[in-house]
Symmetry: C2
Subunit: 216 residues, 2 copies
């Protein structure tokens, strides 16, 4: 089974993806600027099945076969640039959303290239950047008994990479992959996260996106 590294993986978003990747059989490296802290966090996570979660440095995470970017949006580009050569010729999955709190709601921010995935792709010209995991509720992701059945919208310009990520996502418990299209859709997918979270704040809910009427 492939190894999957998660840059900035110790936050709620990274932990949720880690536990469901490991429960699909993958060997996950939960990366952090502070490798000791990542090791401590990894020990608190109990995936099911044959996969594993080990904590380590972001460098160790970047050395895996596939790498997920789960850092805060404003450190994502700096982090991937630091490991540019390790990430070359690999699939890099961006789950980063640029969001800001504005009163009771979260609002989307648009980086110069329209989306964080496009910023990351620009910083990593030798990697295949694919977007996924944007709209997922972190705490339900982390709890394998939450009953989550979410659709994951996937986009990117490399068809083979997109397909490989879709297979990986659909192997994770509770998730169904839906390939939407190219990087031209990145801003729309990322920004919609602000809508999901704002709805959850306003309605005190943990909702997530399902696309009804799609044969899976």
């Amino acid at each position: 089974m492939s190894s999957i590294g998660i840059l900035g993986g110790t936050g709620p978003a990274g932990r949720g993806v880690a536990i469901r990747l490991a429960s699909a059989g993958y060997h996950v490296v939960l990366g952090s600027r502070d490798g000791d802290r990542a090791a401590q966090v990894a020990e608190t996570l109990s995936p099911r099945g044959d996969g594993t979660i080990a904590g380590g440095s972001n460098e160790k995470a970047a050395s895996c076969d596939i790498v997920v970017v789960a850092t805060p949006w404003d450190s994502a580009v700096a982090t991937v640039k630091e490991f540019k050569s390790l990430l070359a010729n690999k699939i890099v999955i961006s789950m980063v959303n640029a969001l800001a709190k504005e009163g009771r709601e979260l609002v989307p921010l648009y980086p110069p290239r329209g989306s964080m995935a496009a910023q990351i792709a620009f910083a990593l010209p030798e990697s295949q950047v694919v977007g996924a995991f944007h709209h997922l509720p972190a705490n339900q992701m982390e709890n394998l008994d939450s009953g989550l059945e979410a659709d994951v919208v996937i986009f990117g310009d490399n068809d083979a990479a997109r397909t490989q990520v879709a297979e990986l996502v659909s192997a994770m418990p509770g998730l169904t992959a839906i390939v939407a299209g190219s990087m031209s859709l990145a801003s729309a997918v990322e920004a919609f996260t602000a809508v999901c979270i704002s709805i959850n704040i306003r309605h005190k809910a943990h909702s997530y996106v399902k696309l009804a009427g799609l044969a899976h």
Copy 2:
């Protein structure tokens, strides 16, 4: 029951909203630049219940109590400007998405103020502009037997207007209103329509957005 006018209502999107508004008991004026054409289209629509659909000019539609903007995106601002005084002190619902076809997919376009709803609000400073009806599949909207059960994301800066639109939407068969928040979310809601349609083109489906895990 209030009267509701639909500017540019003879296209698939306008027809679908018209038939479900009329089926909720509203008196709908399907507006068009060509009033005779609108009258012909209105005759083809068979709502259920006590509501009615009459065709007419866009001016007649703009004279209703509440007005929906369903024109193509690139004529929306010109159309509402033409009826600015008729639309003053009214709720104006924007269902407009700025989208472009790019190969096999639809991609979002971002107008200068970020969204079509914001463009319309700027053109109509004396109206209460609310966004709704963006992600709905037009042909399933028009067919009352399609089994549609879609969530409608609603946004706007005027709380009372937003609440009134939410009540109106939830009265329509097959639709549930979800208030997301302010106009700061407009670009994200509108742009996500491109993702929905691109998914439908790619997967030959008629999917629509549901927010799972939300108590309705």
